[in-house]
Amino acid sequence: MIDFGDLAKSFTIQRRVIWALFLREVLTRYGRHNIGFLWLFLEPMIFTLGITTFWTLTKAVHGSSLPIVPFAITGYSSVLMWRNMPGRLAKAVEPNIGLMHHRNVRLIDIYLARLLLEIGGVTMSFMFLTVFFWGIDWLTLPEDPLQVIGGWLLIIWFGVGLAFTIGSASERSEVFERLWHPATYFIFPLSGAAFIVDALPKTMQMIVLWLPMVHCVEIIREGFFGSAFTAHYNAAYVIVVNAVITLFGLINTLKVSNRIILE
């Protein structure tokens, strides 16, 4: 039988703990007085500007009609989502082990606090860049904002599931952690950040569409400038993959959590 009073109390405690961890995370990562927090915006901004310059120069060759700025923003922001979150959770136990002497601080809370900060940061930078480039007339606002939000939520969920999976696996196997990092470099060019599926040959399309993030980027871009190209995606596929990796990652996280040995 579930006691709902107890459940509500646990929920209050967990919310408190995650908030405390979140504030601590902001403090340790960005400090009180440096510009660390600005990098959250500057990094994608520099990337976007670079891509835009490069594409504008080569546009004559391609003859492409795609709006370049939203193309670069949607692509890179999506990469930040699936790449940074697993990176933040990989080997997260050791630097935080002291905090787990407090009974209410569990590994899952540390994970969730870090994920919240990452999601918040990347989402803010995505929104900030969109509004900024709109302000200087380099892009037009999304044709279908709801679809952009939908695609964005899907890629957040994907990043979270992947992060749980990678984070917990990194605690169980050193090799895995070492392989994941170089793997991101191989996945990056396939992730849809720098291409639209429709421009690829048919066989290549079939290959990249195995990657859930490609679907997400296509959904987001269709929301932005769907009238300019044909999007290829299957939201149901992404949902199934997300559900599977989230469940798998959470189970593994629980296992790792129960085996943590404090100093």
Partner: protein, 218 residues
């Protein structure tokens, strides 16, 4: 009340599994002062971590109806890169305590001076222990876990700790884990002896001491 039922703790090591605690039964009531005696490596610290809830048992059940401190004066529960003040803030948030109320007490009690605003990793072990001690006092637990003798600072500071703990908070429960018979005799009503991973309970302190000393001899 804290109660342990049939608790086992097994650590996986490279050489196989290490069965640290076997079929533990233990009960601590509100206001009780209980000693746990054991030699080095008997599993005292593991018991403390299971009592505090920081680690989970491999099997068995732990029921906890009161709030339990982290090991008192233990300085490992901090984030080294944050200042003493930020660590205090963080811990107050975790336990839902008002920070402004706690601030004055911790600052004056821990006697860190300007170091209160320095990263904890620059502290000496004594400074860390003083800060940890002060913070656990403001959180106001029902049960304090005391791992080994609280040897913090000079005798004046020692006296301050004694007053805060054993005089002002005498209504709370204490679990004192030690290898020092005299320390346990002074502060506890009854004691357990931890030997080879098994917990032996005694209602009578002297019986516990006899059993403990006999174990040390062998």
């Amino acid at each position: 009340m804290i109660e342990m039922f049939n608790v086992n703790k097994i650590y996986q090591t490279k050489k196989g599994s290490n069965h640290v605690l076997r079929d533990l039964h233990l009960r601590i009531d509100q206001g009780e002062k209980v000693g746990i005696l054991g030699r080095n490596g008997a599993g005292k610290s593991t018991t403390i971590r299971l009592l505090s809830g920081a680690e989970l048992p491999t099997s068995g059940k732990i029921v906890r109806n009161m709030s339990v401190s982290w090991p008192l004066a233990f300085g490992g529960a901090f984030q080294g890169t944050l200042t003493g003040r930020d660590n205090l803030r963080f811990i107050c948030r975790i336990y839902g305590r008002d920070i402004s109320e706690a601030l004055d007490f911790v600052q004056s009690f821990a006697e860190l001076g300007a170091y209160f605003d320095e990263p904890v990793k620059h502290y000496s072990s004594g400074m860390r222990a003083r800060l940890a001690f002060a913070i656990s006092l403001v959180i106001e637990f029902d049960c304090f876990l005391i791992d080994e003798i609280v040897a913090v600072g000079d005798s004046r500071f020692h006296e301050k700790c004694h007053v805060e703990l054993f005089e002002k908070r005498i209504d709370r429960s204490f679990v004192i884990v030690s290898h020092d018979v005299e320390y346990v005799r002074r502060h506890c009503d009854r004691a357990y002896v931890l030997r080879d991973g098994a917990m032996h309970g005694f209602e009578d302190l002297d019986a516990a001491f006899r059993y403990y000393i006999e174990g040390v001899m062998h």
